[in-house]
Symmetry: C2
């Protein structure tokens, strides 16, 4: 079965850059895609920078990125909380906490849990557990196992979401990859069918398997957190390339 | 099917006491069991006190407890590490850290993870994840979802073990309830068959279902962390009583 491709969804970290290092050929690959007339989306579970900061930082690295092309998991979580009029206990990174400051956070009826890094301490996780055990909805920002940074492989939010799910006996709503609702939101914004969208990522599960489950095409890159053996974790219809340069 | 009962295994917190409060009638129930000629064992996943401290504290509360009747999950974890000559990264509560100080902890090839409370912070959990992701064995002290203390329901070690298991893609060896290996160790010490041992606990899963899975009889008490509905979580052969007083 052949598909046309009308939109490309780029994962960011591990595909376009690693930490502050641009992956060789990445800005050019994005530019080529744009010049071909493809619709571009930048799709990330990153929860340690606001969408606005991501755009500025990526421009500084030489990427032509436009604000309305950026889709982040925290943005999706915020929309979810807004649409349902929830009062969140927000356990997210300091860099994006302001985005949630508009919500009434007294007597929370949901928990928003993201890659809060050092704020993922016992006291805060215990509060999240207690709320969920009493019936608050658990909203996870992304469901990644780990990410790669200068300190090596680092524990991502997914494990902490699993921790609270298991201890409180609840199931989290995942905003971000690999959640189908998140991919659907991005696809909808492109105006083309899911089958005409190609997700490119370095996470075999969150990016590649998640996108294919949501009806998109997907391509795994052998950069970022990719490790030998990850090829076997992706569905057979996934494409695999060494680097975004080869797109 | 009827069973004789030759040994009683008492869970501690929630069955004999709650925090510093003795559950009414508990010391007398233990004494009655002893005078009937039953073999007694005190079996706990508590990982915030050494076995010696537990014996002293319980005697202070009026319980006749003897050191060789005490079986704790940290003791089992220590034995496991010793027997296999492992080098542990030890993430346990300060109160029991000394028990692991004899091990060579450089270049760890296993992680011992227990109810370390405030030491369960991002940096330490990330270290545990990194080691397990590179192949270190994950050894969990107990696999409880939560415990009850003066602050209400509190997140126990189980969720953090699930966090590391899921993120690193490994399966933990559980030392403590509901691990079959732990129950077997206790049963062996009694000198009677598992079917003649009765486990009494307030945790439907870790105490009651775990004991029955390991071939023991089991009894759920409606004290401690027990909540309405827990009756439906235990196998049908479990007995249920309001309190240890009714044993």
């Amino acid at each position: 079965m052949t598909h046309t491709c009308k939109a490309i969804l780029f994962d960011l970290s591990g595909v376009l850059y690693d930490g502050t290092r641009v992956i060789p050929g990445a800005p050019e690959a994005v530019q080529r895609a744009r010049e071909t007339g493809l619709i571009l989306r930048f799709v990330t579970n990153t929860a340690t920078k606001s969408a606005a900061t991501l755009v500025v930082d990526m421009r500084g690295m030489g990427f032509d990125v436009r604000p309305d092309e950026m889709f982040t998991a925290p943005m999706a979580a915020k929309t979810y909380v807004q649409q349902r009029n929830l009062r969140p206990y927000v356990l997210v990174h300091g860099a994006i906490r302001d985005e949630f400051s508009g919500f009434d956070q007294r007597d929370p009826d949901c928990v928003v849990l993201g890659d809060a890094r050092d704020d993922l301490n016992y006291a805060n996780l215990n509060r999240a557990f207690q709320l969920c055990h009493r019936g608050a909805e658990l909203i996870g920002i992304g469901m990644n196992r780990y990410f790669m940074d200068d300190g090596g492989m680092m524990l991502d939010a997914g494990g902490f979401i699993r921790c609270i799910e298991w201890a409180a006996g609840v199931e989290a709503t995942i905003m971000g990859k690999p959640g189908a609702a998140f991919f659907e939101q991005v696809v909808l914004s492109t105006g083309v069918p899911a089958g005409d969208c190609l997700m490119v990522g370095d996470d075999a599960i969150a990016d590649v398997a998640g996108a294919i489950d949501a009806g998109l095409q997907a391509c795994l890159v052998r950069t970022g957190k990719f490790q030998p053996g990850d090829e076997r974790k992706v569905p057979s219809e996934a494409r695999i390339i060494d680097s975004i340069r080869d797109l």
